[in-house]
Structures are given as structure tokens and as C-alpha cells.
Amino acid sequence: MVITFSGVLTGILLVPVLGAVVILLLPKEQKDAARIIAAVTTGVALLLALGVFFGYDVNAANAAAEQGEVYFAFEDHVKWIESVGISWHLGVDGIAAPMVLLTALAGFTGVLISWGIEDRTREFMAFFLLLVAGVFGVFMAVDLFVLFFFYELAIFPMYFLIVIWGWAKTREYAAMKLTLYILVGSVVALVGLLVLYFKAGAATGTGDYSFDFRALHAAAQAGVFDQPFADWTGVSTARLWFPAIFIGFGVLAGVWPFHNWSPDGHVAAPTAVSMIHAGVLMKLGAFAALRVGVQLLPDGARAHLPWIIFLTLINVVYGALIAMRQRDFKYVIGFSSVSHMGLVSMGFATMNVTGMTGAGLQMFSHGVMTALFFACVGMVYDRAHTRDIPSLGGFVQKLPLVAVAFIVGGFVSMGMPGLSGFVAEFPIFVGLWHGPVTEPVATWPTDSFNYYGAIAIVAALGIIITAAYVLRVVGQVFFGEFDEERFPAVSRITVYDKIALGILIFWLVLLGVYPKVMAPMIESGVKPIVSMLGG
């Protein structure tokens, strides 16, 4: 039954679930108890996640990669539904470990930021914990059924949280749109996943069907997916199904043109949910696209990423331009997320070590940064009751810490050196400039013209536009004249808010001045992928 079990990852997953169950059993008057339990469980998860992060052995990972093995740390492997080839298999590789930490950070700070929720506190905390648990599950999954299970599991708490506690004006529309969009993307990817499962299982010849990543990866290395998909087409499985899987999961990553759910979803959601949403949920999509798409179908990646990169470019530039036009504070951040997630997808599409490492760093950096942004927006909105940028102004006088936090976040989003944004974006651009490890399999004749460099230049425009809208928002919201009549009583932020902001700023600064804490880890996860691509 049990193959290996270290318990840590299952623990990180179960603690929020248990917390949610306990909270639901409380009587509804006991709001403080609900909050405390939520904080304690996410705190425990955070400590365990820190343990996983700092306990990850980069050298072991690199050694395993040299041997061509797939390396996962802290594995939990228990048989679940044997007859179908599904097992409870959790593990983290170099890319997943920072993501687990990110989720834990966003979860813990989210609970702190939500301390003030009074309406049905119990249900809010319970659903929030379930959402966090679902997201943990995706990052930790080594069995792809488990990945898909938790991917879907995150959907319904999201719907609840937005529709009940969200912004009254658009919450129903946004929640339904978000849910349906994500579901569409995920089920398209499901069909692709099933195709891989059957092809791999059939190729074993022993009827050994399995959803386990190692089994599918072995099949990929053996070239199973490079065979023609069916009798009626000569196109290989990898090339035929890669777009479905990558873009199916990419919907959640906000890949243009399927990004539409994201800004509305961000804005309609309550603050903590926006933090998880933009900070973590969108990374799920990129992560799953990488894990199931690029890692298992490298030939498909080689064939399709060269044109998918244009979609990501549109994300970066278009997202930034739209952000500049927004009047609503939160919509600016929402579109900024679309833009920065474009950089993540772009980094993965570079298909070399530097670019992909940058993408992994960007996932973490942007995750923390956007959580910080939404926290700040939430604090301003709770006090000003408006998000209209022209009406706001001078909030640095009343909320100095929030202003500082927002400015830090702004610098990160601009890629200012000294903060994590630079550490993340610079490698992506370097990677773009160098181009893919292997000549892109041309879907149109591009004999010697490596257009990746041109993409780098255009994408760099995105930075300029980002700087423009960030500085504009900072200037208009935090500096300038403060309207005393309109905002008579702006309360100070609570100690919980301060702790949350502090934690988030700490990680942005740490990664900025000491990237070595994370970059080698991500690199160790990326190298095996690139060697399969370059192979």
C-alpha cells in the first residue's frame, strides 16, 4: 500500500482541510475562534512549507538530473485506486518547492488581512482554507490525477468566496465567468491528459496504465508520444495535443486571448481571495502547463512554443497598456497581473535554462508582489470606500505603511534592481535574447532569423509602460492632495495588517538581495526540462 511516506507534504495539505472542518463545526457566533484556527493552521502550513523550502537539497537534485532521473523531494507515495493506475503521490521538485512556499505565504497573510471580515466569518475562513489546500495539492502532485483533482477542487471555494463576499456590483458575473472559463480550460487539458495516459499505458505492453508522472515521463523519454497519434493523421501525439494541454492550463495562467476572466475576477473578489487568485492561482496554470505540457511533450513544445510566445508577448504589452487606461485602482493591478503572468509564460517559452529560471523566479516574485498590491488596495478601499483613482490622493499621510508597501511592490513590478522583480525579469530577457536551446521547429519558414531577440526588445517596452502606470497610480493615490472632507475618518491599519505586509515585503527584499536562496533550486528543476528540450 505505502511505497514511501515522509508525511510533510500530506501534512501541509491536510492541516488546512482539518482547519476548515473544525471551523465549520463551530457555532457561528465564535468569529474570533474561527479566525484564530485559520491563522494557526495556515501558520503551521507556513512553517512546514519553510521546512520544505530550506530542506530541499539542490545538490541531490542536480545529481539526479545528471543521471537522467526525475527528482522529487519529500515524496509521499501511497496506492489509492490501483485498478485505474492512480496513486496518492506527492513530491516537490525545484520549481514546485518555491510555489509551495508562496502558497503558504499567501494563505497566511490572506488570513491576517481578512481578520476584519464580520459577515459569516466562519464560512469565509473555512472556504479560504479549502482553497489554500486545493492549491497546495496542485503544486505538490506527482500523480497527474491528483494534480487534476486538486485543480478542480480549487474551483468551487473560489466561486463561493467571490459570490458571497465579493464586490456587490460585479461579483455574480465575475464569479460565474471565472468558474466557467477555468473549467473549460481544465477539461480541455483533461482530455489531453487522458490521451497521454492511454498512449503511455498502451506502450508498456503489460497493461500498466498509470497517471504517475515518473511513468509518463519515462514514456516521453522513450519517445511514445512522438508516434503518430492515430491512423488518420501522421502528426505525432506530442505535436497534436500540446496546444490543447498548454493552452487549456494556460487559461488559468491568463494567456491571451483567454485572460478575460482574470481582471473581472480579481476586482470582484474580496482582498484575501484576490491575493490568492492573482498571487497563486494563476501560477497553477503556468505550473501545470509546464509540468504536463512541456515536461511530457518536449517535441510538442519545440513545435508550438515558437508561436505561443507571440501570445505571451501580447499579454505583456497589451496588458500593460490596458492597465494604464484604468480608472479603478484594482483593475490596474488586475491587468498588471495579466501582463506579468505573460512574462512567466514568455520565460517558459524561451526554452533555455536562463529564461525558464527567470520564469520560475517571476512566479514567486510576482506572486508575493501581487499579494502585496492587493493587500494595499484592500486597505485603501476599506477606508476610502472608493477605488476611483482620480478621487483618491494623499493617502501617504494617513496610511504611510501602506504607501511604503505599495511603492516596494511597484518597484518590484518595474524590475528595479535590489528587489525580486529584477532578479526575475532580467534572466527572462537574457533568455529571450539567447533564444531557445534548440532551433525552433519552424511552423513557418524562418531559416536563420532568430526572432526571439526582437521579442525581447518589444517585451522590454512592457517595462516602460509598467513603470508609467505604476508611478502614475502611486502618485495619484498616495501623493498629492488629501481630500479631508471626502475621507473624514481614515483609520490606521491593524497589527495583523502590518505583520502581513511585513512578511511579504521581507521576501521581496530577500530574493532581491540574495537570489541564491531560490535561484539554484529553480535551476535544478529547470535543467532536466531543458535537457529534454535540447535533446
Binding site: F150, F160, V163
Partner: protein
């Protein structure tokens, strides 16, 4: 079970009025006990020849076992949820006839003979006509009963004709021998196709597949809700079992009949037919459900859509004996029985509390009864196919079977329908949770039988979707393999 039914009638006469409500307990618990007895004391024999009982009328194999368990469970849960309905709770004859309907459905699960198939079909149908129209004073109930009767009588006449054609062509009534003779006979394709189509009419009627679904919304809405529960659980489960067994036995794929020469493979006929029915049912059911305002009608259209999903699994019954399609169908039906019992049970409670079956009147119920709202949400998530409810695993298995049988297009259609379905299920959830009702704070009354019934159902839906998936999948696979053992 017959003894139980008779005992109920006797008790109905003997017990004073005040105690009569407890008849529900007798019925419900009695049925659950029957399941226990069946599983422990009467496992199916290993040898195929020992499995045919009653002169070859029924076949007592694992498939019959699991479907009987489902059917009786559906019946038990329906009895328990009757106990809160004012005009039905103390009627002993109601419980007795309900049990007879359950007997009919369980005979359907095991029927191995044309005559038994028809008897079982009729036994279930006629008792259900009665039960649907039970509330004579209620216009909707009488109308529903009459509609169901007329529709059912018509389709069963067509089915009987189809069955008699099959007998006429082959001279056999045992479906396994019939299949063998039919495969080796030299009949024109048209004749076989016609008899297949006629028999299919009856099956499509019982499982509410398009185009024989017209009775479903009106009957589900008009019938007393416990009977709606029974219809959507026990009756449907029995029919699905009979459908699978019948098609595989009478029109088997050539690979299963042994390597004899000249064995004609008629399976393509029904596989294509089932696939088409599946697509149409799913799409029509889901699309029409989008505009419903009455919860029972919405669940009725959802039933039609689910008939479509189930037929995906039937169409994907592969010929390589890996039994994935049939196993998926079996698993799905089991979780469907539990899910529907849960959903309709909550509907009964809410209807008693608000006096209405309109979805809009469910507003604010999450504030009045958070646990009931959560139970309903779990049921709706299961119907939609979202984890952690068992419906997710069920749908996953169905799509997996479809992809394996090289019917990827069918899986894609199914997936599109899942998305449409999610929309209207979420709307109900949204109404319960988001909107405020007129009587916030006053809890909905939940009597003990409901705690049991909904508790069992909810536990099942949650457990079979997470921790206990494996035992059920294994049982379903074993049952499905039994389908492939032909004589």
C-alpha cells in the same frame, strides 16, 4: 423483501394511527437490512452455470449484486425521506407498494430472460404509476400519474413487440442463448435493427433518454418528492443494469462469442445508437435545464442529461474485456443514487419549510440551515462533477472509458455539457448562499429520519469521492467483468 412488504401491510392495519409514521422506519431499516443479508449471506456463486436461477430467468452475478444493492439503497433512502411528508408518512400501503417497486427494479438488475425482463419492467412501471399518482386529491400528482401511465404503456407495448420479434427470430427466451443463435443466424440486418430499436424504446423510456424523455419533467415535478427520489435512483439503476446486460448478451460484439465462424457482429448497431442517444440527451437535458425555475424540474432535466452521461459509458463498452465502460457506468450509477437521494431529500425539507419548490424561494437558506445548504451544495457538486464529491470520479471514469474506446469526440461533447451543467448547478448554490430570504435565522426543521438518510447519502458522496474510491471502483470493475462472461 416481499415478506417485508406484507409485514408492512399487516402492521398498517394493526398499529394505531399515532405510531403509523414509524412504518417508515420499518420499511427503510428493513430494506437496509436486506442489503446486508444479501451481501453477506448470498454472494454470487463462482460457476457461471450455477448463477442462473429460477430456470434461467435471472442471473445472480456480481453485476446483479451491485445493482441490487444500489436499487435497495435507493428504496431505503426514499422510505426514510417519506417520513416527513405530511400526507404520506403514515400510509402503510404506500411503503408496501414502494417496496414492491424496489423488488421489480432488483429483478430488472438480474433478469436474464426475455419474459423476466418484461415482467420486471412492468412490475416496476406499474407500481410506479400508482405511486406517482398516489395523492389523488392533488391535481399535479394525478396528472403526473396519468401521463406516466400513458407514456409508459405505449413504450412498453413497443418493447414487448420488439421482444416478441426476437423470440420469433430465434426461438429462445434466455438472452444469452438468444444472442448466440442470433449471431449465427442469417437474418437480414433490417430485421435485427428493427427489433433492436423497438426494445431500445423501452429502455430509453425508463432511463429518460431523449427522445423518450418527455414524461420526465412533468412526472418528476408532479409526483410526491419521495417517489421522484425513487424514480431517479432505483428505477433508473435497475433499467441501466438491464440495458447493459441485454445489449451485451443479445447483440454481443464478435470478439466475445468465441472464435466461431460466421458469427455476425451486431454490436455496431447499438453502440452507434447509444452514442447518438447519449449526445442528444446530454445536450437537450443540459440546455433545457438552464431555464428552469422549479427545483424539481431542474433536477428532472439534469436526470435526462445524466442519462446521456451514463450512455457514454455504455457506448464505450469495449470489446477487449477490460470492462472500463461498464465499470464506469456502475460506479456512476452508485454515486448517482446517493447524490439524488441527497438532493431530493434536501428539496423535501426545504419545501416543507418554505412551502415552495421554486428555486428563487431557496434564497437565504444557507443562513437558516448551513448544514442543509452544505448538503445540497455537495449534491450539486457531485452532479456537476467537481471534487471532492464522488461525481468527479464518476465523470472522470466515464470520459476515460470513452477516450480508451477511441470515442474522443464523445468525451469532448460530454465535457462541453459538463460546463453547461455547472452553470445551472452553481445558480442554485448562489441563490442559497448569496441571496437573503424573508425568514433569516429560523432554522429548517430536520427530523431524525432525514438526519439518517441525508447523513448516509452525504457521507457516501464524500467518501466515495475521496478516501473510499478504490473499494467501489474495484467492486464495479468486478461486476462489469461479469457482464462479459456469456454462455
Amino acid at each position: 423483501m416481499t415478506i417485508l412488504a406484507v409485514a408492512l401491510l399487516a402492521l398498517d392495519v394493526v398499529w394505531p394511527d399515532a405510531r403509523k409514521r414509524d412504518l417508515g422506519y420499518v420499511a427503510g431499516v428493513g430494506l437496509l437490512a436486506v442489503i446486508g443479508v444479501m451481501l453477506v449471506l448470498a454472494p454470487p456463486p463462482g460457476e457461471v452455470s450455477d448463477q442462473l436461477l429460477l430456470g434461467g430467468m435471472i442471473r445472480h452475478d456480481q453485476l446483479a449484486q451491485i445493482f441490487r444493492a444500489m436499487v435497495i439503497l435507493g428504496g431505503a433512502l426514499s422510505c426514510l425521506v417519506t417520513m416527513g411528508v405530511p400526507r404520506l408518512q403514515h400510509r402503510g400501503d404506500f411503503y408496501a407498494v414502494l417496496i414492491v417497486a424496489v423488488v421489480g427494479a432488483s429483478l430488472m438488475s438480474a433478469a436474464a430472460d426475455l419474459i423476466m425482463a418484461f415482467i420486471a419492467l412492468e412490475m416496476t412501471s406499474i407500481t410506479l404509476y400508482l405511486l406517482v399518482g398516489y395523492l389523488r386529491g392533488d391535481v399535479r400528482s394525478s396528472e403526473a400519474g396519468l401521463k406516466y401511465f400513458l407514456f409508459g404503456a405505449f413504450t412498453s407495448a413497443l418493447t414487448l413487440y420488439g421482444l416478441s420479434l426476437l423470440y420469433g427470430f430465434t426461438g429462445e427466451t434466455n438472452i444469452y442463448r438468444l444472442g448466440g443463435v442470433l449471431g449465427r443466424s442469417d437474418l437480414p440486418d433490417g430485421a435485427v435493427a428493427v427489433s433492436l430499436a423497438l426494445v431500445a424504446v423501452g429502455f430509453a423510456f425508463k432511463i429518460s433518454a431523449v427522445p423518450f424523455h418527455f414524461w420526465t419533467p412533468d412526472v418528476y415535478e408532479g409526483a410526491p418528492t419521495p417517489i421522484t427520489t425513487l424514480l431517479s435512483t432505483a428505477s433508473k439503476a435497475g433499467s441501466v443494469a438491464l440495458l447493459m446486460r441485454f445489449f451485451l448478451a443479445v447483440f454481443p460484439p464478435a470478439g466475445l462469442l468465441g472464435a466461431l465462424e460466421g458469427v455476425k457482429d451486431y454490436s455496431a448497431l447499438w453502440v452507434q445508437l447509444v452514442a447518438v442517444l447519449s449526445v442528444v440527451s446530454m445536450t437537450l437535458g443540459n440546455v433545457l435545464a438552464l431555464v428552469q425555475t422549479n427545483i424539481k424540474r431542474l433536477l428532472a432535466y439534469s436526470t435526462i442529461a445524466h442519462a446521456g452521461y451514463i450512455l457514454i459509458g455504455v457506448a464505450a463498452i469495449s470489446t477487449d474485456k477490460s470492462a472500463e465502460g461498464a465499470a464506469a457506468v456502475t460506479f456512476y450509477m452508485f454515486m448517482y443514487v446517493l447524490t439524488n437521494a441527497l438532493a431530493f431529500g434536501v428539496v423535501i425539507l426545504f419545501a416543507n419549510a418554505t412551502g415552495s419548490e421554486q428555486i428563487a424561494d431557496f434564497a437565504g437558506l444557507s443562513r437558516r440551515s448551513p448544514w442543509l445548504a452544505l448538503a445540497m451544495t455537495l449534491a450539486l457538486l457531485s452532479l456537476a462533477g467537481i471534487p471532492p464529491a464522488a461525481g468527479f470520479v464518476g465523470k472522470f471514469l466515464l470520459f476515460r472509458a470513452a477516450v480508451d474506446a477511441n470515442m474522443v469526440w464523445l468525451a469532448l461533447v460530454g465535457i462541453i455539457n459538463v460546463i453547461i451543467g455547472l452553470y445551472y448547478y452553481l445558480i442554485v448554490v448562489k441563490v442559497m448562499y448569496m441571496e437573503r430570504g424573508p425568514e433569516d435565522g429560523r432554522p429548517v426543521r430536520v427530523d431524525t429520519p432525514y438526519v439518517w438518510a441525508l447523513g448516509i447519502a452525504a457521507a457516501g458522496v464524500l467518501l466515495f469521492g475521496t478516501i473510499m474510491v478504490s473499494p467501489l471502483v474495484d467492486w464495479a470493475t468486478e461486476a462489469a467483468r461479469a457482464l462479459y462472461i456469456l454462455l
